[in-house]
Structures are given as structure tokens and as C-alpha cells.
């Protein structure tokens, strides 16, 4: 485990955005009712300012201070950016808020030529980015965390946790300040003090947290690392000697990485459903471009074609700056994909449609390319809907719809349906009859023929207040006007209810027939 602690994280973030440092920098925030110092930079630290000091007191001690209000969101997003950038070292990176990161580097260090080389690489990059930091490697998260903040940074071999921790203060065990304070009250200050104490009284007095953290730090209990991003099942990556910036190069490298992934995917009989291309810019920014597919995909050319569209869709956002020095292609969602037999016509058609859907979705967005589905509802607007075409369901519901239609002998449905029924002004000859004429979008339509009503009861069991017509029963009419236009109208509510309330019935136009 590697623990990275950015010692002056908040102040470094502010200093990075400035060309020149003027005065000692402190960051303040409201704690309770008081404005307190929450972070200081090195210069302020030398003046004796520490976090926890009241702002007024700090100003009294040193009138010339650069005081900046804290910005927790900016800190958090910068930390996440750094975490993304650190994905170059290991896929298992977790944010250790507010100012640290945890890496699981098992099995990754040798890629850099050992732990020390990895730390050296990380150090030089962080230094260049202008951060103060300390890095420690130990067998457990707790020990690494403690060493980075309180002990000797550097690499500590597994099994040496006990000696490493013994001399460190109890706060190094990631305990709540109250616990640390109450331990100090009984004279327990260092971790070494509690090593040999009987466990039962300690737990009884200070709670289970103390010993759990202690056990975790000493590798007696396992502590899982929760990575910030899910770890992709298939990953291929490539570092470049020289940064690349051209789109063609990016695509070429994508195809090459896809070729490597293909081998791994084939071995396990999987295909990619969602692919992510991560581009690491030389200045630390990370670009992530994801593309979805409508069927499990393996072919490098298909994958490349997907990213051609994705890059075309966000040409401005790619912004290579001084170039990318590393690219990673990961399959974030994989699905079993049966080995394909090529040449049977129908299958090829399905593949061609899949390719087209992927192609369009990559460029226009998967929400814009849709398929129609039927749903189990008698309410017209819910009876049919659409889903992104890339979302393949096992059943689109049309078979069930046809059975239902034949069973109940459903009357014709309009070709086009308005998502929200449009209110119209209608005049009916008899209160529960079809309208004689109606006004829709400011045009008057004379009804010459009508068919209906078809009564569709509202969903009384659900409280859909969002519907325009509420939850009332509807009487649908198919009407034809003088010029031959055919509409699907309905009156919301039953006639007998209007008699009681003396309100005029409301009419809606719901669809148009061809």
C-alpha cells in the first residue's frame, strides 16, 4: 500500500493558480461560529500559524497575511483529478479525503522498476506540479497512512509495522480527536503504549474503533481499499516516448490497443459492451472518452470506428495541449460473446444494424438513437415507448402487445402520438358525445365523422399527478375533419362528474392518424 499525503494541499492549489506569491498564505473556514485557520502554507507555518487558530488571532499576530476562504469543492475536484492522473501507476487508486490518496501498488511497482523508482517518478511529477507531499509505502493502509503523516516517509517492508508504529502518536491510527484526547487523559500517547495492554478493558473504555484501527494498521485485520473508479476487467495501455497530439495517432494507438485487448477478450470468450479510452496529458490532465456498443464487440476495426465518431463529436474537448504521453484502453463492461460464424445472412444483417446503431450513437449520443418497445399498460402513452437502441433487452414486448391487441380487439391507434396530450377547445353536441368542432393550435376543425368513444380508465392505483389530464378516465374518439385530417381526441373525466361539479369538460388531442 502506498499512501500519498499532500501536506499543503489547499494552499498549494491556490498557489498553483498564481504567478507570484505575495504574503504568507492561510486558508480560513467557518467552524461553528468562529472563523478559523484551516490550512497554512510553509511561510505561514514558519511564522507559527497553525490550523485551528482563530482568524482574528492570526491577523493580530501577523497583519500581513494572504487570507483566502476555503473552497471544499475545488479541493475535492482537484483531488479527484490527481487520483485520475495517478491511474497511470495502478488501477486501484482511492481518494483519502481531504488531502491524501491511497494506492494499491501490489504487482504494479515492477512496471516502473521497483517501488523506489515508482516513488521517484511520482515525486518528480508532483514536484513539477507544485505540490508538497510525503509518500510512504507499508504493508497495510493504516501503517502507510501513519508513516506518511507522522513517521518516516519511504518504503517500509511488510512485517515491520510494529516497530514503525510504536513510536508514533495515537492520532496516527486515524482515530476521532475525542478518542485521542481521552486516551491522552489516561496517559496513553503513543501507539507503543497500547500494544501490550489487555484488549478487553481498552475496548470497554474507548470503543471498538481504537482496536480495529490498531489491528488494521498491524495487518491483523484486513482493510479493503475502495477504488475511486471501478476496475476494468480488460485493460491495455501504452506509454509514449514522445507525446502524441494528432487525432490520427490517437486513433492508431486505439486500434493497436484494441488489437491487444482482442486477444484477452477472445481467451475468455467475452466481448466489450462499454469501452473507455483514457488519455493522459503531459501536464497531468486526464481525458476519458467512453463509447458504448449495442452488442459484444472485439474487432479492433469496429472499436476504432467507434472512437472515430466519438472524437468527431467532441473534437474541441479533446484538446491535446502539449500532447498525451500515455493512453489506456479499458473495457469497463464486458459480456460473453459467442464465437461468430461468418456468412449466414441474417446474423450479418443483425451485425450490420448493430454497427450502424453504434456508429450513430457514438456521434449523436446513445439517447438519440432509439428503438420502439411495447409496455404492459392500457394507457396509450405508456403502452409504447422507446429505449436507447444500444440497450438490448431480451423482449421488446411487441409479441405480447399483439396478443393483447388480438384478444381485446383493440381499435386502431394513431400513427403519431403527442408525448403530452395537447389541450383543445371543443364543442360537443351532446355532453358525452364526440365534438362537433374543435380548435387545435389556433386552427378550427369541423368534425364530419367520428367513431367512439373508447373508454380508457385512468390508473386509479397510481397517483400520476404529472399527466396533463390527471388520472381521470378518458373517452377517446377518432374524428375526421372536413379536409380529411384524422385525429385522436379524448375528453378527460366522465360526464357524470361534470354534471355534479358544473365544470366544462376538458378535451385533449392525443394523436394523429395517417
Amino acid at each position: 500500500m502506498l499512501s500519498l499525503w499532500l501536506r499543503r494541499f489547499s494552499t498549494d492549489r491556490i498557489a498553483r493558480s498564481r504567478s507570484r506569491q505575495r504574503a504568507p498564505l492561510i486558508v480560513t473556514g467557518k467552524r461553528g461560529n468562529a472563523e478559523l485557520v484551516v490550512a497554512v502554507d510553509d511561510a505561514a507555518d514558519k511564522l507559527g500559524l497553525t490550523p485551528g487558530l482563530a482568524l482574528a488571532q492570526a491577523r493580530a499576530m501577523h497583519p500581513v497575511l494572504d487570507v483566502i476562504p476555503e473552497d471544499i469543492e475545488a479541493d475535492a475536484s482537484l483531488l479527484e483529478n490527481i487520483a485520475d492522473w495517478c491511474l497511470r501507476y495502478t488501477p486501484l487508486v482511492a481518494c483519502d479525503a481531504p488531502d491524501g490518496l491511497l494506492f494499491d501498488i501490489s504487482g504494479c511497482a515492477h512496471l516502473y522498476g521497483g517501488e523506489d523508482a515508482l516513488v521517484a517518478d511520482l515525486s518528480s511529477r508532483l514536484e513539477a506540479a507544485g505540490f508538497a507531499f510525503s509518500i510512504a509505502i507499508a504493508g497495510s493502509i493504516g501503517a502507510a497512512w501513519a508513516a506518511a503523516r507522522f513517521g518516516k516517509p519511504g518504503s517500509h517492508a511488510r512485517g515491520t509495522e510494529r516497530t514503525l508504529l510504536a513510536s508514533l502518536p495515537l492520532a496516527a491510527l486515524r482515530l476521532a480527536p475525542e478518542t485521542v484526547a481521552s486516551l491522552a487523559r489516561v496517559g496513553l500517547k503513543r501507539i507503543g503504549d497500547i500494544v501490550d495492554l489487555p484488549r478487553a478493558p481498552l475496548t470497554a473504555r474507548f470503543g471498538t474503533e481504537l482496536l480495529r484501527q490498531f489491528d488494521r494498521a498491524l495487518c491483523i485485520e484486513d482493510e479493503p481499499l475502495t477504488p475511486r473508479l471501478p476496475v476494468a476487467p480488460y485493460v491495455a495501455e501504452q506509454r509514449f516516448a514522445e507525446p502524441i497530439a494528432r487525432e490520427d495517432d490517437v486513433l492508431a494507438i486505439t486500434a493497436r490497443l484494441a488489437g491487444r485487448l482482442k486477444v484477452a477478450l477472445e481467451r475468455r470468450g467475452d466481448g466489450a459492451r462499454r469501452i473507455e479510452l483514457t488519455l493522459f496529458r503531459t501536464d497531468g490532465a486526464v481525458r476519458r472518452i467512453a463509447a458504448g456498443t449495442s452488442r459484444p464487440l472485439r474487432d479492433p476495426d469496429d472499436i476504432r470506428a467507434l472512437f472515430v465518431e466519438r472524437l468527431a463529436a467532441l473534437a474541441d474537448m479533446l484538446d491535446p495541449g502539449f500532447g498525451f504521453d500515455m493512453a489506456r484502453l479499458s473495457v469497463t463492461v464486458a459480456e460473453p460473446c459467442a464465437p461468430e460464424q461468418i456468412g449466414i445472412d441474417r446474423r450479418e444483417d443483425a451485425a450490420a444494424i448493430g454497427r450502424l446503431v453504434d456508429h450513430l450513437s457514438a456521434r449523436l449520443g446513445s439517447q438519440r438513437v432509439r428503438r420502439l418497445i411495447a409496455q404492459d399498460s392500457h394507457i396509450p402513452e405508456f403502452a409504447a415507448g422507446s429505449v436507447p437502441a444500444q440497450m438490448t433487452g431480451t423482449d421488446d414486448g411487441w409479441a405480447a402487445f399483439r396478443r393483447y391487441r388480438d384478444d381485446v380487439d383493440l381499435s386502431p391507434r394513431p400513427l403519431r402520438l403527442f408525448t403530452r396530450p395537447e389541450p383543445i377547445e371543443a364543442v360537443a353536441e351532446v355532453p358525452d358525445g364526440p365534438p362537433l368542432r374543435f380548435r387545435w393550435r389556433r386552427a378550427l376543425h369541423e368534425v364530419i365523422a367520428a367513431e367512439g368513444p373508447e373508454r380508457i380508465e385512468g390508473a386509479w392505483w397510481s397517483e400520476h399527478s404529472g399527466q396533463v389530464s390527471g388520472n381521470l378516465a378518458r373517452d377517446y374518439f377518432r374524428v375526421e375533419d372536413k379536409s380529411g385530417l384524422r385525429f385522436w381526441l379524448f375528453r378527460a373525466g366522465l360526464y357524470r362528474n361534470f354534471v355534479q361539479s358544473a365544470a366544462a369538460p376538458t378535451w385533449f388531442l392525443h394523436g394523429t392518424f395517417a
Binding site: L356, H359, A374, A384, A389, R413, A449, E451, R478, A514
Partner: protein, 327 residues
Amino acid sequence: MRQGGFQKRPVQLASSKTYLMLEELRQRLQTLQKPPGIDDVPGLSPLGVEAIDDILGGGLARGALHEIAAASEAHMASAAGFVLGLSSPCPALCRASAPSRQDVDGRVKAAHDGRHLVWIAEDMAQSESGALYGPGFEAFGLRPERLVTVQAARKRDLLWAMEEALHCRAITAVIGEMRDGEIDSVAVRRLSLAAAESGALALLLRATPPTDASTAATRWLVGASPSFVSVIPGRERSERARNPETSTVLASGFRVPASGRPRNDIGGIGSESEHVPCFAVSLTRNRRGPTGSWILQWSDIDERFRLTTHAQPVATPLLDRPHSQVA
């Protein structure tokens, strides 16, 4: 003009060799410029109406771009229905006299399983004309599960998506629904070429009658037409026999009672009321030459267009009465 000049003065050319070369180049240019969809048609899809098919030289040319415009915004649903009728797989297969429904279904399934239809519309289309509704889609002999809909934010995206879809070999027809505005000839040409390559039907559906010049193979103006008394053989309902006094059945399945007023008829829902859309169709541009106007109806029994013989709707005069009587 330049071409004319050459023909007038061939003797002035340096040698007959140059002339021959120029002639050859000219011929090559001509073959390159030959509009797709005229001679080397990948296929025809007949409408099933002889009068129209004759004019079109056998049917609507596949692998070419056709423009279908609604007579006005309000007639968009009819135009959409006409477009679906054109892209329906059936007409090519059911030229034989009225096969039964199951029969057609079976054959269509065999021939067109797996083939898709792509409907691309601008965002505005959904709110202006409504979204395509699957259950209503089936009346046109098309299966909603074989439809891919695409929403395009801009006209540029629409044209791009149409072209991409046309390149796909598993597509029978690509329908682009455009609100208003012009479409430049380069885009039309690109679409025509893409269609010619794949042999798919490219249909451009426009919400308003276009004013721009077109290089599409055909251009249609489609509006709704009042329904007529049913004339489709096999659809002659016993309705009239049963109630000779009270009502007239429109082709749409709507009834107009003898009194001339729309009637509330709960019993009519169901088996009696099959939906037969009527279209007033005019072919305003045809690369082959002749144009014309027809009133067609879509027969949902054998899933094809039929020519309506009645020139005047039967029902209209009955209802053409002054408002004051009603109000």
C-alpha cells in the same frame, strides 16, 4: 454552353485525335454525371397502383432519393403514413390479387426478417407532429421492432445520419423527416449516391411544400383526403344492409349517420372499424417525365395502396351546412 461551342466548330480543333480524346472524356463525364436511379436501378418497389407504377416505369426506384412533402404542417401524419406505405415491404410481393393477411405476413416475414427501417427526425418533429407510435405503425405492414429512430439536433446531423444509415446493407429504407428550410443540392446528391450504392430507399419527408429546386428522383406532395365509402373488395361490410337508413360507413371506418351529424356509436368500436387512411397524392416531379395526381387509400387488409375511384367524397355534401344551424 461550352459543349455547344465544341459541337459547332469541331474543325477548328488541332487534330481529330484531340477531338476524339475530348469526345471520350465527355462521354466519361456523362457516365459519371449520370443521375443514379434512372438506368441502373437496383430495383423497383411498385406501389401496387398501376396508374402510378406505369408513370414511374414500374415502381418507385430503389437506390434513389425521393422527396415527400406534406401539403401543409397539419398533413404531416398523412405524409408520414404515405412514406411508411412506400417503404412497406409488401407492394413488391402482393401484386397477385389480394392474398389473405396471414399469407402476406408469412411471405413478408420470410423476405424481410432482419431488415430494418431507420427513421431520422429533427428534435422539433417530436413536439410538432408527435412521436412515432408503435401500435399505429403496424397498420402499414411494418413491424415496430424493426425500426430504429434517430433524433437529430440539427439538419446537418440529420443528413449525416441519413447518409450513414444508407451505407448500411441491412436497411430497406431510410426516412429523414425535415421540418422546413432548404436542402442544398450537394446534400441531395450525396444522399442519392449513398442510396444508389446500397440500393436502399431514401425518403426525405418534409413538413411543408418545398420551394427549392430538387434533384431527387421524384417529389410528391401528400395530404389527407376525406375518407370515402368503402370500395375495397372484401371489405364490404354488412353495415349498409343492416342499417340502410341510419349510417354510411366511411373507408376509415368512421360512420356518418344519414342525419349528417357525427354520431356517438359505442358499438362501432372493434371489428367494424378498421382504419383505412386516404391520401391525396400528387407527383410533382418525376425524372422520367410524367406527373399526376391521385387519391389513394391504404388497404390494411392486403397492405398496399389502392386507387380510389370516387372523385368526390360521398359524405361531405351532407355535412356542408351553415354553422348557425348548429350553434
